[in-house]
Amino acid sequence: MKNLLKKELKLALHPTAPLFLALSAMLMIPNYPYLVAFFYTGLGVFFTCLLGRENDDIGYTLLLPVSKRDVVRARFTVVAALQLLQMLIAAPFAALRQLLVPEGNLAGLDANVALFGFAFVLYGGFNLIFFSTYYKDVRCVGASFILSSVWVFLWIGAVEACTHVVPYMRACIDTPDPAHLTEKLVILAVGAAVYALLTVAAYRRAMRLFEKQDL
């Protein structure tokens, strides 16, 4: 597994994937739909899979002394690491945003604890849709990305719209920290749990599909 992770990082990872982590700084924009910042990690995953197709990454990897399951496990490990890393990098920007610009976010949800719960759900849905499609046919990277992007933007649209039209969201969730912190922490915990569940489901489904796939 260590060798496959090394292969992922040294040969397979698209350079934009780690660079997009810096877009966590978008949480510093005074008024912006902050969930969009989390879309870019998915874009980096898409670029990595696209680059893999052009480089015949799967062909190279499957001729190494590894199994198809190992290949899926390594890719999920790297993707989950990128997603969690973005959470870690984004957190100080969210704190800084609230410190420097105490006024709320006029464009949508504040950069608060709840934002990360919603971002977790965004990632979980992305993983389930993207990898369920990708590992059905690793040549169809574009279709995987289009389908998962539809989910991402529907989710972003729904969450941001709720901050304007749902009174509970407006009064309780779309507020600067530490106001209503308990509710926001619950959203964060539920979001993290949904992320874990959807990612594990995506991983199992991806392994099953990839195992069956004729290359």
Binding site: N55, D56, D57, P65, V66, D214
Partner: protein, 281 residues
């Protein structure tokens, strides 16, 4: 113990079918795997590595079933494709440093020796290599992890005649060193020069599995004017093709005496060309 044994491999696609593909390789020999484009060579090779899932059949490397021994088998097998296209913009040094970590028998000295022998520059990227050099790099990787069996998939396609000759000499050297080579190609003239055995696949079926001499000696090539042939002679022609003067066709070696004009020995290409014509008719 045979390095590779395939028994009763079947795989059905909507428009193509591998049917009861069976063959075995002899240790230290070059086995040519021939057939026209689309005959099933690539599907067979992909099945060996489970990249394509056969509907039925058995594949054993070194007496071991692939399932359950995949990692062990891959340590002992090298795959070299003429269409090497991995990580075109990465330096060979980077690809090697990743690849070597997967092999318990990786031999740095053997790798350096291959780099020197093949004049490979590790600071180049695959994109900067010619087709022949890409094959040599893939071979260098396979030889450095001590592969006992080399599966070569169209390794000489797109190479100039000199590079092809260089590679063929190299394959002969490797066999002398005890390596077993399974050489898939539709450039049959390469096999005339180096193969010990021939496995011929046609429309997904193995139609010949013999020594090169046995396979070639089974046929003769005749040129004839069809108007001057008797009905009996015409029936003995295999895959007649129009030529400048009359037709050329294969005949079975034992039928050679039935023809007044002396027949010639056929090479692999001529045999394949006429057998394919016969199959198409």
């Amino acid at each position: 113990m045979t390095p590779l044994e395939v028994v009763g491999l079947n795989k059905a696609y909507p428009a193509f079918r591998l049917t009861d593909v069976s063959f075995a390789l002899e240790k230290g020999k070059i086995t040519g795997f021939i057939g026209r484009n689309g005959a099933g060579k690539s599907t067979t090779i992909k099945s060996l590595f489970n990249l394509v899932h056969p509907d039925s059949g058995e594949i054993r490397f070194f007496g071991l079933d692939y399932e359950g021994h995949e990692r062990e088998i891959k340590q002992r097998v090298g795959y070299v494709s003429g269409a090497f296209a991995y990580y075109g913009k990465k330096k060979l040094r980077a690809i090697t440093s990743v690849t070597k970590a997967f092999y318990s028998n990786w031999d740095d000295a053997a790798y350096k020796d291959c780099l020197h022998r093949f004049a490979l520059d590790e600071n180049k990227t695959p994109e900067q290599l010619s087709a022949g050099m890409k094959v040599k790099y893939a071979l260098a990787l396979a030889l450095s992890h001590g592969a006992e069996l080399l599966i070569l998939d169209e390794p000489t396609s797109g190479l100039d005649p000199v590079s092809r000759e260089d590679l063929l000499e190299l394959f002969l050297d490797l066999c002398d060193a005890g390596k077993t080579i399974f050489f898939s190609t539709h450039i049959t003239s390469d096999l005339d020069k180096c193969a010990d055995r021939i496995v011929y696949i046609q429309n997904g079926r193995i139609v010949a599995d013999d020594t090169l001499e046995g396979f070639v000696d089974a046929y003769r090539l005749v040129q004839a004017d069809p108007k001057k042939l008797t009905q009996e002679q015409t029936e003995k022609l295999i895959g007649p093709r129009r030529a400048k003067h009359g037709v050329t066709a294969l005949i079975r070696a034992q039928d050679a005496d039935s023809f007044a004009r002396p027949s010639e020995k056929a090479d692999l290409e001529q045999i394949m060309v006429h057998l394919e014509k016969e199959e198409a008719e």
